[in-house]
């Protein structure tokens, strides 16, 4: 399924809002949470992550995982958290507006 412009970054922020994750885990989390509907190509997710890093919304740190692997783990910064709240309310507004327009279709119309 295609994503709207800028949505990917919002999804990443939201995912990281739940806790720090490494790059691959973010991609798995998004898929799992969307019940496999959103399959984000890693080739798109990674640059989005870098964009967020450059903007200073997420920060990255090398950490050793439970499986004793050295992974680069991303977490939200304070600024990123603020940004997430903004995006979240904007999205909620947007989604409800779209939902109002797109309300249930009359099945089997008279025609």
């Amino acid at each position: 399924m295609d994503l709207l412009q800028g949505t990917l970054e919002m999804l990443v922020l939201r995912t990281l809002g739940l806790g720090p994750l490494h790059g691959y885990a973010i991609s798995k989390a998004i898929r799992a949470q969307s019940n496999d509907v959103l399959e984000i190509e890693f080739g798109s997710l990674y640059p989005a992550l870098k964009r967020l890093e450059v903007k200073g919304w997420v920060s990255a740190k090398w950490e050793v995982s439970e499986a004793n692997r050295r992974m680069k783990v991303y977490r939200l910064t304070d600024v990123g958290r603020k940004q997430l709240r903004q995006e979240h309310s904007k999205w909620a507004e947007f989604a409800s507006a779209v939902a109002r327009i797109m309300g249930p279709l009359a099945e089997g119309g008279k025609g």
Partner: protein, 911 residues
């Protein structure tokens, strides 16, 4: 992350680190996915990395563009700041660029010839021009060679592709086109070996090159004409090529024109107009140097074959030199043999050719470079201060930006971008200033230049230099303000920034002012010392009188006079010029004091044994007509000077100076009536000493006066074999002592000389005082520029001090208001503010004076400039202290008065 770490984000090294980290991360993810057996889910990691990299680069570029836009916008808002900063920077960068233009053009550039780096000069000094080979070495190191020795070295060194010889001095020529009734041009020639142009790899602009066959015995007389002379004297007429000329009355054919950029094998204010083969020297020159195996007069420069080791070549050539010189009589005496054992050559890089101008100017140029660097440092400190003040004014803006989430690194980068943009603006203005400045410098440096040896137009390297300096400057003055801004606490935006009293910038600002004061004291002391030294040089007692005297250069040899005609010529010159209205004395001579010329010989006193080996028995030699001493104002101490009775056939007489008496006679001996001789001990009965004159400086205005002996114009000194032409019989200059200076004197002089013989031209006409002044042109340039830099530094430091004081007064308005409300008098407020300003100046002095003294003591190029001035001249230091104190006072009094005029009621109400 540290500030440093953030700054290096901008560097390529840091970018590589980012890439490396990305690669590591992607590999770790791949390994993880692999372990879970789902590697395919990640897709192409190369593509991911590529996109990730693009994010970095784009974001960097976008931010950079945004920073520049933002910088432009903020600066437009603040025109006063922009103007001050750009002007200050332009002065600093301009001064540095102007001097770098000279450093680059003179010291760093090679000759405009093919592969100059493969050229090698045989010798390491430039002693010139026609020297007895036995006396031409510097501690055994030979640089100027007889023609025979050149041929011997050339023919025994296959290591050279070519080894060329070129005359050490210049050849004085009177050149006239054969066709039509053309006028004679006083020109400069240079005798070169036939392979000269092949060695340098120079191709003619037109016509053909000089070839070794042109330099053979009996070859047709030919010459190459320089492009500059071709354009200047012959309007670039193509018919000149192949046409006949008369040079010093002998026919010569012009075969070609040298290329436009070519100026010979050395940089000089007087490049040669004609290049002539050495085979012509006995005909066109005046010394027959080519045929005298004992006369050193040629510099050697060659192109070495690739891969030849220099050390062994140098060793081999030293051996060859000893073999060649060993043939000479001078080297066969006991003394000569010890000298021969030490004889050697030093091979030096020849890319700059004969580098006398480089050696002459290097220390001055590096000194100026250092001074200009100091001025730029002061300018940097000034702008850093302005930026700090401005940064404080922008505190709330920056606090708000940080509160809104701007990263610290972003703020720093923004500030640095601003300072670099500012520096680049200053750099562009500085380049314009440098162009004008270079022209001024060249005029100060080469007062007598016929052709400016250096182009003032900025080259690519100079523009690059200016840009690099601007960038560096921007970073230097930008780092401190950026650092301080980034420490801003977002919360400060909410408070009134004006009231905080503790901030890092205030101490920093004061330190910058102290640094400025210290540097300007160093420059002021330098300017004072150099100025005083120049003053001493100019106003020393040279033992001469220069008022109402003109010096005229002529050359009867060029006009074709035979020795037997000279008596008549000199008589006519004396008579005709005496007849001119207002002429007091007419004096003929070989050369006048401090005109850059000299003759020297060994002198022997009759009855004394030959000087011991190593004893210096050399003395300057000159000739004088009866009126000469009066004409130059040289005082006679004892005995008499010459009269018209001292003719060529009369008994030999000589006049010596005090230094001569001291050097050659025993203490208490009466020289009058004793006999002396020149060149050889067997001549020691030639001249009776009839007079002693006061010491005067002839060769060098800085050194102690040299010993000198004068003989009458036409009495023989037995320089060479009797059949040889004695060129010392030909007067080179005469002096006119006038009662007053009529405005058309030069015209009268030219007419009078032409009325004696139309072939006899005035080669040069100059006031005596100007001739002496010219000796100090280098010192004057350095002193003028140091003073200029010193004043600039002082003004910048004063502005800096004013700025900081004014700012602190503004910030302390409420405090001052409170003090006054509590009963402080206006006077005590003035004193309080002034004390602070003076304290900074005083700390600057405490640091600056020892630094200045240390510099004067340790830097050789400073020491070599000083003449009879001690490095720690109390008067100069006191003057520098006073000047700085006055400047600090002026800079402090304005804000102090403003502080005193604060209305307590108003100041407290603003609370």
């Amino acid at each position: 992350m540290s500030l440093f770490f953030k700054l290096v984000h901008l560097l390529p090294g840091r970018r590589r680190a980012v890439e490396e980290e990305m690669r590591e991360e992607l590999e770790s993810l791949a390994a993880l996915a692999e372990a879970e057996g789902r590697r395919a889910e990640l897709g192409s990691l190369t593509r991911a990395a590529e996109k990730g990299r693009a994010v970095w680069i784009w974001s960097w570029l976008e931010q950079f563009a945004a920073d520049i836009r933002f910088a432009a916008r903020t600066m437009k808002r603040d025109r006063g700041f922009l103007f001050t900063a750009v002007l200050t920077l332009a002065l600093g960068i301009g001064a540095n660029t102007a001097i770098f233009t000279l450093v680059h053009a003179i010291l760093l550039k090679n000759l405009p010839v093919v592969d100059p780096t493969a050229l090698v000069r045989v010798g390491d000094h430039e002693d010139c021009c026609i020297l007895n080979e036995a006396a031409s070495s510097r501690e055994g190191s030979y640089s100027i060679f007889p023609y025979e020795t050149y041929k011997y070295l050339r023919d025994h060194t296959p290591e050279f592709e070519q080894l060329a010889a070129v005359q050490g001095g210049g050849a004085d020529l009177s050149a006239r086109r054969a066709a039509g009734n053309a006028m004679s041009h006083s020109s400069r020639g240079e005798f070169v070996s036939g392979n000269y142009f092949q060695t340098l790899g120079v191709q003619p602009l037109a016509g053909r090159n000089l070839m070794p066959t042109d330099d053979a015995d009996g070859a047709a007389p030919v010459a190459m004409l320089s492009c500059q002379a071709w354009q200047r004297d012959y309007a670039g007429d193509p018919a000149v090529i192949g046409s006949g000329f008369y040079m010093n009355t002998h026919p010569v054919t012009i075969i070609g024109i040298t290329p436009q950029a070519f100026y010979g094998e050395r940089m000089t204010e007087t490049p040669p107009d004609f290049y002539l083969p050495i085979s012509q020297e006995p005909t066109l020159g005046f010394y027959s140097a080519r045929n005298k195996a004992e006369l050193g007069w040629l510099f050697l420069i060659g192109r070495v074959k690739p891969g030849v080791p220099m050390a062994s070549l140098q060793e081999k050539m030293s051996g060859l030199l000893r073999q060649s010189l060993g043939e000479l009589k001078d080297f066969q005496t006991v003394q000569g043999k010890t000298q021969l054992a030490k004889a050697h050559v030093v091979l030096t890089p020849g890319g700059q050719g004969v580098a006398n101008m480089q050696h002459r100017t290097a220390s001055s140029l590096y000194l100026l470079m250092g001074l200009a660097g100091m001025v730029l440092l002061i300018a940097c400190a000034n702008i850093a201060n302005l930026m700090l003040v401005r940064g404080l004014a922008r505190r709330s803006e920056i606090s708000i930006r940080m509160a809104l989430g701007a990263a610290k690194a972003r703020v720093i980068r923004q500030m640095l971008t601003e300072s670099v943009v500012l520096a680049c603006l200053g750099g562009v203005a500085g380049l314009l200033l440098a162009f004008a400045g270079t022209k001024l410098l060249l005029r100060l440096m080469f007062t007598q230049a016929i052709v400016m040896p250096v182009d003032a137009a900025p080259s690519l390297q100079v523009i690059g230099f200016a840009f690099a300096v601007s960038l560096l400057t921007g970073l230097i003055f930008g780092v401190a303000p950026a650092w301080i801004s980034s420490k801003e606490q977002p919360a400060n935006a909410l408070r009134s920034a004006n009231r905080s009293t503790h901030d890092g910038s205030s101490l920093l600002q004061r330190s910058l002012v102290v640094l400025q004061a210290a540097l300007s004291v160093v420059l002021l002391i330098g300017a004072g010392l150099l100025g005083k030294s120049l003053n001493k040089l100019q106003h020393q007692d040279l033992g001469l009188e220069t008022e109402n005297r003109v010096i005229i250069d002529m050359n009867p040899m060029k006009a074709g006079y035979k020795p037997e005609q000279l008596q008549g010529l000199y008589q006519q010159i004396e008579d005709k010029f005496h007849a001119m209205p207002g002429v007091e004395h007419v004096g003929l001579t070989l050369y006048t004091p401090l005109n850059g010329d000299s003759w020297s010989f060994y002198a022997y006193v009759q009855g004394q044994s030959a000087p011991a080996p190593g004893q210096d028995a050399g003395t300057l030699f000159n000739r004088a007509s009866p009126d000469y001493f009066k004409a130059v104002g040289q005082r006679v101490l004892r005995g008499r000077t010459f009269t018209s009775a001292d003719t060529a056939t009369a008994p030999g007489v000589a006049v010596v100076n005090q230094a001569f008496v001291k050097k050659l006679f025993k203490p208490g001996e009466n020289p009058l009536g004793m006999h002396i001789g020149l060149v050889d001990i067997k001549n020691s009965g030639d001249f009776e000493v009839v007079g002693i004159v006061e010491d005067t400086k002839y060769q060098n205005a800085r050194d102690e006066p040299d010993a000198i002996v004068f003989v009458p114009m036409l009495q023989s000194v037995h320089i060479g074999p009797p059949k040889d032409l004695d060129s010392s019989l030909y007067a080179g200059q005469f002096v006119l002592h006038m009662q007053a200076m009529p405005p058309d004197l030069e015209q009268q002089v030219r007419r009078t000389l032409a009325s004696i013989d139309p072939n006899l031209a005035v080669d040069h006409y100059q006031m005596f005082e100007h001739q002496i002044e010219e000796n100090f042109s280098g010192e004057r340039m350095i002193a003028t520029l140091t003073l200029l830099f010193g004043v600039l530094a002082l003004v910048l430091a004063a502005v800096g001090l004013y700025g900081v004081t004014a700012y602190s007064v503004q910030r302390r308005t409420q405090e001052v208001g409170l003090r006054m409300a509590l009963g402080s008098s206006r006077r005590s407020v003035v004193v309080m503010v002034l004390r602070q300003a003076m304290l900074q100046a005083a700390v600057g002095l405490v640091i600056g004076i020892p630094v200045a003294l240390f510099c004067v003591r340790t830097i050789k190029s400073v020491q070599s400039q000083l003449y009879e001035v001690a490095g720690r001249d109390a008067g100069v230091i006191a003057a520098a202290v006073c000047i700085l104190a006055v400047a600090a006072c002026i800079a402090g009094i304005i804000p102090a008065r403003r502080a005193a005029s604060i209305d307590p009621a108003k100041a407290l109400r603003a609370e």
